[in-house]
Amino acid sequence: MLPKSRGTLSADVFTALQSGSTAHLGTEPESEEDAQIALWTLYELHYRGFDEVDPELEWDPDLLRVRRSLERTFEADLRRQWEESPLHADPDLDLTGLVERHDGPSLARFVRRKADREQVLEILKHRSIYHLKEADPTSWVVPRLETRVKAALMEIQFDEYGNGDPNRLHHHLFRRGMEAAGLRTDHACYIDEVPVEILAMNNAVTMFGLHRRLRGAALGHFAAFESTSSIPSRMLAQGLRRLDFPEQMAAYYDEHVEADAVHEQVAVRDVCGAYLEEEPNDRDLVLFGAFTGMELEAHYARLMLAQWGES
């Protein structure tokens, strides 16, 4: 089902998606929320689509025109955040240094020690937008890479997709966890409940994945994501067990403790390291992607902690 609109542009886009009449569409969003939900929905046409939308519209030139306009604004905003960061000014900064030095509040630590059941359920609903298509946005990048980097990325992606076993595929593990926790599990079913910060996180990774020009950012984002997963995943598993969540939900995070300890090493060294040997001019782009992933995560964590009176 299409999401609920969050402003005039998204309302117009969603009406056009149902009618197929797209030529008249404007490109000016009313707000950040309006822009992000419209962009998320236009991107979703390339993933699972919507029952009520003609699959032909995936490549409708007018929808692509709207998408492109929203992407330009979004990319410029993300680049501005990177360029304004004090980390950007360090000419010797590498990926590992960026991950170490980027500062943001930890939602996982809050879940481990203090969160109540309702707060954790809220986080799981928000996270489901990504986790139910986990690894998919990075798969867009694969055909755009040279041999060595492609093989290294696929070594990780194969693990993300369960090494050929559908029961080990990470979205399936998350879906089983959600089901056991009494949540709905259909694709993107909680989209209307997620804050704009979650939409931005999802849209950034898709934008990096879909644009060949931004493949360095996609790889940097991916490496930062993997590098900031093991320890938080362990805290989340501890919090879920503290609150007596079903074992399947904690097991999803257990899997990420161990898997991402591996993925981090391969992503930083064999994926990004090798990519930068081939494309040394993309250093800033890789760091931009990594920064963006961590920064958008920090925006989300700040929002939730503030909402719960924890900041």
Binding site: T147, A259, A261, V262, Q265, R269
Partner: protein, 73 residues
């Protein structure tokens, strides 16, 4: 065109040891653990909670030692 290097055992600086392929790893207590993914990370810092596998704890140790370096005296 030459082939690429692809070591099956990789020592990561200040991190785990990566093992590619299927292995049986005997831990310090003598228990044997089979690898179950294409690449596995073996704990080298001794502090992992999921030994013999790495769980990222080495990074917390490194961060703590950076913090203590900053403290005066």
């Amino acid at each position: 065109m030459s082939d690429f290097d692809r070591p099956t055992v990789v020592m990561c600086p200040a991190g785990p040891m990566l093992l590619r392929g299927d292995h049986e790893v005997q831990d310090a207590d003598g228990t044997v653990h089979r690898t179950k993914r294409p690449v596995s990370a073996v704990c080298m810092c001794g502090s992992s909670a999921t030994k013999p596998w790495c769980d990222g704890t080495h990074k917390l140790l490194a961060a703590r030692s950076r913090e203590s370096d900053k403290k005066p005296g």
